[in-house]
Symmetry: C2
């Protein structure tokens, strides 16, 4: 294998596939990046066997030569060293050449690295996916959907299925749900598809976080293919594979209350900042709990008390409070994460009493909601 | 105690005095910030008993009212909570009022915090320093001097005196020296003084690092006062006290070779980048060693070898190589830190053989030098 490549393209591709590589893998060859050079271009692959990322650098793009293939071939190079080396090379082009015994020479300007590589034939095969039923989402919307749900997955392995996000596809709509059993995030979005498709799968939260990091903020469509145990996201030069979680995701629709007893509409930013301040003293304690009470004339009071340190109390003028009076306690962390996930300047919080889960939604937007279980203190 | 203060001034002062406060102190009251309000203004103090920082906020500055003192007094408030609270207060002004039992009310807009304070009478007294002999250095020069020397102090407590920087004042000149016995940094600077002063003290590296963080990049003069066991740095509204290290600093002048056998002049940036690349593979090993060899026609070769991973070799065209041929090995880390500390685009490296310490200096600047002991590999 021998080729000359524009350094910037190589750096970008290496950074992308590195997202899949873990230094703690038990399969030594997976600490490496697989490099395959063909007449069409260079393909880099990284994998931790849960996530696999393939990045393709074409020989030419928009009439600009990016790679000059001198001899097709393949090699696996140690990812961390290769990544650091390409970032620090002195010139704009890099020559990579495999010699005997997988010894690989990396040249740029007057700098020459010899790296001991491994046989690419030993690298595990990526899943083969039949692209029968593809649906499409714009890249920026996909990133938003991930951001609005993935934070709510469970970090505990007690119920492994809750460490993933439930994706349901039906009636040309994608419904994404994440819950750790103390709070729940839900986001719906229209999808583009040629034939009607039905899916109900659970994607590991970690996979979605890594995917989000390597996607650009463009409106270009991402192709999504789902099989029995894999999901594939395809962009122009990138393939992102993730395994799916096995098992049935709990039915969450009955958790979401349909009516409410107290509705509060507040400015999202003011409310967020008041919660943030109230939680300053509460963070020390185990549960970071703040209290919300409705007062007269649409005023709500946010407070918190940490006996040893002190207490905090703040009044906020809401847009409106309708329904019954209410005193309720909840996790400031969950509330702040829910508010960060939602869009819109005004939000509506719908309570069904101090002991029941409550809903947070942007006003006039049915596509997203956040649900939080209160904490019993009164 | 009761006063109303501009939040931004309070935030800045709290951040400054927090630099002295350690959460791991064995003296509970030192986890707090002492606040003293007088008719002249508000003084904040933080201390870990090695370093003490006092920040003064005047009642008025440039005809702008900053503090309105309603009742003079004092209190000690828990530093971390107080710091987080003032940063997140909703309005531009803050009211702070001490009530019975040191309970302190912090009000801003409709947010009200109650913090349990401590009696300011219990707070340790700062050292009393007679300001007899003061010398002065511009703030930006002081920061540069610290940056160019403090990184070379020892991090090991085997020889505690080496964890400090040796400051010698004589003939209206300040000489700063730091060494961890593997490398040495030296910087000289003219000082301003009214009467001739002589000092030879050792300042803890940690103190200088913290001092550097709270100094602005201005040309205003810093007053420096040295006593038997304390040093005081004074700026307009800030007092920074540090204890001095006890013991005699080793005599280092005989370490610095006076003649050389091989002199190399190189572009500092090119040389730094080549060392950085050569060390990429060496970082894995214990000692991060790179080799330098002089070749023909002013070319020098930088190389490194890590048998399991691979090797790297790079040629650099120097400005000039004079004297004997040389092969020498040294720590890439020490060389990169020395190069970062020096100013100037071209540097001169003066070797006295492969086993002797060598000097790195900017060309045409006698005020600073870096010395590194080589590593025995040939």
């Amino acid at each position: 294998m021998k080729f000359v490549i524009q350094r910037d393209y190589l750096v970008r591709s290496v950074q992308d596939v590195m997202k899949a590589i873990s230094s703690r893998t038990t399969i030594p060859i997976l600490t490496g990046i697989k490099i395959v050079a063909t007449e069409q271009g260079v393909t880099l692959t990284g994998s931790d066997s849960d996530i696999s990322i393939e990045s393709f650098i074409p020989v030419e793009e928009e009439d600009k030569v990016i790679v000059e293939i001198l001899e097709p071939g393949s090699i696996v190079l140690p990812a961390r060293f290769f990544g650091e080396i390409v970032k620090k090379l002195p010139k704009e082009t890099v020559e990579i050449e495999v010699q005997n015994q997988f010894l690989t020479i990396i040249r740029s300007g007057k700098a020459e690295f010899n790296l001991n590589g491994l046989d690419a034939e030993e690298y595990p095969r990526l899943p083969q996916i039949e692209e029968e039923n593809v649906f499409k989402i714009p890249t920026d919307l996909l990133k938003t959907i991930i951001r609005q749900t993935v934070f709510a997955v469970s970090t505990s392995e007690t119920r492994p299925i809750l460490t993933g996000v439930n994706w349901k596809v039906e009636n040309n709509e994608l419904i994404c749900i994440a819950t750790d059993s103390h709070r729940l995030a839900l986001r719906k979005a229209k999808i583009e598809t040629e034939s009607e498709v039905f899916y109900n799968v659970v994607i590991p939260g970690k996979s979605l976080n890594e995917l989000s990091k390597i996607l650009d903020d463009t409106t270009e469509l991402v192709d999504i293919v789902i099989t029995e145990n894999q999901i594939l996201f395809k962009t122009k030069h990138l393939l992102f594979f993730s395994r799916l979680l096995e098992g049935n995701y709990p039915e969450t629709s009955r958790l979401i209350p349909e009516d409410s007893k107290t509705d509060v509409i507040v400015n999202a930013k003011e409310f967020f900042q008041a919660i943030d301040r109230a939680s300053l003293l509460a963070r020390e304690g185990r549960n970071n709990v703040v209290k919300l009470s409705t007062l007269q004339d649409g005023v709500i009071e946010i407070s918190s008390n940490s006996p040893e340190i002190g207490k905090v109390i703040e009044e906020i003028q809401s847009e409106s409070v309708t329904g019954e009076e209410l005193k309720i306690s909840f996790s400031a962390k969950y509330m702040m994460e829910a508010l960060k996930a939602l869009e819109g300047t005004e939000i509506k919080i719908s309570f069904t009493g101090a002991m029941r889960p409550f809903l947070i939604r942007p006003i006039n937007d049915e596509s997203m909601l956040q649900l939080i279980l209160p904490v019993r203190t009164y």
